[in-house]
């Protein structure tokens, strides 16, 4: 190229929009050190020291008026359609939720009225709300959410935004699987969610929410270091985005896992700090869970009076949320504190009721853990016959679900000891802590009962 390329051509070159032949000509021209063209083309490089630098004199003259007007015009146009979609969503969702699962599946996969952003988002919210109350239903709704998210019109909502929502749906499904104890499948769901996030808008809040759920999986797998790393990232995002709720959630989850990892003081500190950040008006359920764990760790640290005081002050919140699972856990907690305070008869009655409901909800793992609290009462009172019966009842609960062999083996040890009337409080503590740990995957399976 003997002649200088004009500015339009250089602009296209700078944006990588030229044909190969044209590109070749311009690069050859620039290699020959044409100062004029190099100067013109240099404006297509990122400005030096972007952050904190004063804009160049050219940039100071930029007029963004038209850009704002056009962007707003398009947003307003989409807003009208989006608001209509939002108005239609509650009725559609009610109709969907009233159907049996097979019909829900058929509607979610074939009826385009359901393939909207708002229906999907509300369905995912409903699944999340149901998480611990009705894990089986939460799983079904999460599956529907994934199906609907994949069918949302990308041309209308935008490719990257839909990828964000798909990531949210997959993370929700992963979380529902975690709650059911299906860690391996949960893991795969999170891998898909993260892949989708990479093709999303880059929204840090969306990312933080996926990381929060993933940290819960890591914690349940006893991979605490990884869980804490994820939570640190969430905290950093929350602080950067001025989102105290996000920070509060991260602190609460961290507190919970610190407690599980045998650091009750750390747990109490983080939970108390997290509770201060969470807005009770917007996330009462989280607040109940946080208060619940705080009471639990206070009790486990022997601070029973503080635990009882907090329990009494938190009781209205438990009832206000109306979450059956939270109320069930409240009774369990009362039973545990009752044991610690030596109120065995009341504690036993409470725990027996809770155990029955856990079994009905197919929460076998929790039912088995709770059985060990009952065993604690029998051991303290030397009630060998009840202990034997309890041990016999525990194994079928476990076998009814896909619980791995090591956990069953731990229960067999307990059952054997019960038969021989040799169950001690120490053994109960060992089996209980082993069962909690044995929710983990292969990594922790090597640990043996002492």
């Amino acid at each position: 190229m003997d002649k200088h390329p004009d500015s339009a051509l250089l602009s296209k070159f700078g944006r990588g929009r030229l044909s190969r032949r044209r590109n070749r000509e311009i690069v050859r021209h620039l290699l020959a050190q044409c100062e004029r063209c190099r100067r013109m083309a240099s404006r297509y490089l990122p400005p030096a020291h972007l952050r904190g630098a004063e804009p160049s004199s050219e940039a100071r003259r930029f007029d963004y008026g038209a850009a704002f007007t056009q962007a707003w015009r398009e947003t307003e146009r989409r807003q009208t359609a989006f608001l209509a979609e939002q108005a239609a969503a509650p009725e559609l969702l009610s109709a969907l939720l009233a159907e049996p699962f097979e019909r829900q599946w058929a509607l979610a996969t074939t009826d385009s009225r359901y393939h909207t952003w708002t229906v999907c988002e509300r369905l995912l919210d409903a699944a999340r709300e149901l998480g611990f109350q009705d894990p089986a239903r939460a799983l079904d709704l999460s599956k529907l959410g994934v199906e609907i998210a994949a069918r949302i019109d990308r041309a209308v909502c935008g490719e990257t935004r839909v990828n964000d929502l798909c990531a949210r749906a997959w993370a929700g499904l992963g979380n529902a699987r975690r709650i059911r104890g299906d860690f391996r499948e949960g893991e795969a769901c999170f891998a898909t969610a993260e892949r989708l996030l990479k093709r999303g808008t880059g929204d840090p809040v969306e990312k933080a929410n996926v990381l929060l759920l993933k940290s819960s999986l890591r914690g349940n797998q006893q991979r605490f270091r990884e869980a804490f790393r994820l939570l640190d990232r969430v905290l950093a995002i929350g602080r950067k985005c001025g989102d105290p709720q996000l920070c509060g959630k991260a602190l609460i989850i961290r507190g919970f896992f610190l407690g599980v990892a045998d650091d009750p003081e750390g747990a109490i500190r983080h939970l108390a700090e997290g509770i201060r950040d969470v807005d009770p008006a917007t996330d009462a359920r989280l607040l109940v869970a946080a208060q619940h764990n705080l009471i639990l760790f206070l009790a486990e640290s022997g601070r029973y009076e503080e635990a009882m005081r907090l329990l009494e002050s938190a009781r209205p919140l438990y009832y206000r949320t109306g979450d059956q699972m939270s109320l069930l856990r409240l009774r369990w907690l009362e039973g545990k504190i009752g044991i610690a305070l030596g109120q065995f008869a009341e504690a036993e009655e409470l725990l027996r009721g809770v155990r029955k409901e856990l079994i009905e909800r197919e929460l076998g793992f929790d039912a088995a853990l709770l059985s060990l609290d009952l065993a604690n009462i029998y051991a303290r009172q030397g009630r060998g016959a009840e202990m034997r019966r309890l041990a016999e009842e525990m194994l079928p609960i476990f076998k009814s679900r896909d619980i791995h062999r090591e956990a069953i083996a731990a229960l067999l040890v307990f059952q054997k000891a019960a038969e021989m009337e040799r169950v001690t409080l120490g053994l109960i503590r060992e089996v209980s802590s082993y069962l909690k740990e044995s929710r983990a995957t292969a990594g922790t399976r090597t640990r043996e009962l002492r």
């Binding site: 190969r20 100062e35 190099r38 240099s42 963004y64 935008g158 105290p244």
Partner: protein, 182 residues
């Protein structure tokens, strides 16, 4: 954030966009985003805000942060396209089969002059790429990089080359340090 009623959402969004405009303009100007490209950045951020309104707790901070991030991505993408264009063009120029010797010699001389201003590592890497026609795996082997990191290293060197190619009239900084493996 609780779900807003429809008129309330419209109103809140309008107020937010109006109030945040001066800050957004400042962000665009600081990042020197050409006005013709600012519309896409603004529109994309605003639409995402609309769709996620219920999930975002501090909409103004979120919007400013998102626009900043999009500005960074804008330049990253622009730099990527430019580097790719330069790289492809140089490979094409060197591959022309029947170019006269004189032309080839001039091209090599011009290219070497630009490469001479790069760090030793980048110069060696690009000489293998352009001079000997090595592919990424061969370059990695030759220079002791892991195959998994050679793409990143090559991209850094291409960015340095592109900066040198377009550098004139002001001091251009060398790429920060030597490329590090891994």
């Amino acid at each position: 954030m609780a779900t807003l009623d429809h008129p309330e959402l419209r109103e809140s969004l309008n107020i937010l966009l109006k109030n945040s405009r001066p800050r957004l303009e400042r962000v665009l100007r600081n990042f020197e985003i050409p006005p013709e490209d600012a519309e896409d950045i603004l529109q994309d951020a605003q639409l995402t805000l609309l769709y996620k309104w219920d999930k975002i707790r501090s909409p103004e901070s979120w919007l400013i942060g998102t626009v900043k991030k999009k500005c960074i991505m804008y330049w990253r993408k622009r730099r990527g396209s430019l580097c790719e264009a330069v790289d492809t063009a140089i490979l094409d120029l060197l591959a022309v089969p029947q170019a006269p010797d004189q032309e080839k010699a001039e091209l090599t001389c011009d290219l070497n002059r630009v490469l001479a201003r790069l760090s030793t590592r980048c110069r060696s890497l690009l000489k293998l790429r352009y001079g000997l026609g090595y592919g990424p795996t061969e370059v990695a082997e030759q220079m002791g990089y892991r195959t998994s990191s050679i793409r990143k290293v090559t991209n850094r060197c291409l960015a340095a080359l592109t900066r040198q190619l377009l550098a004139v009239g002001f001091e251009v900084r060398e790429p920060e340090g030597e490329p590090q493996d891994g």
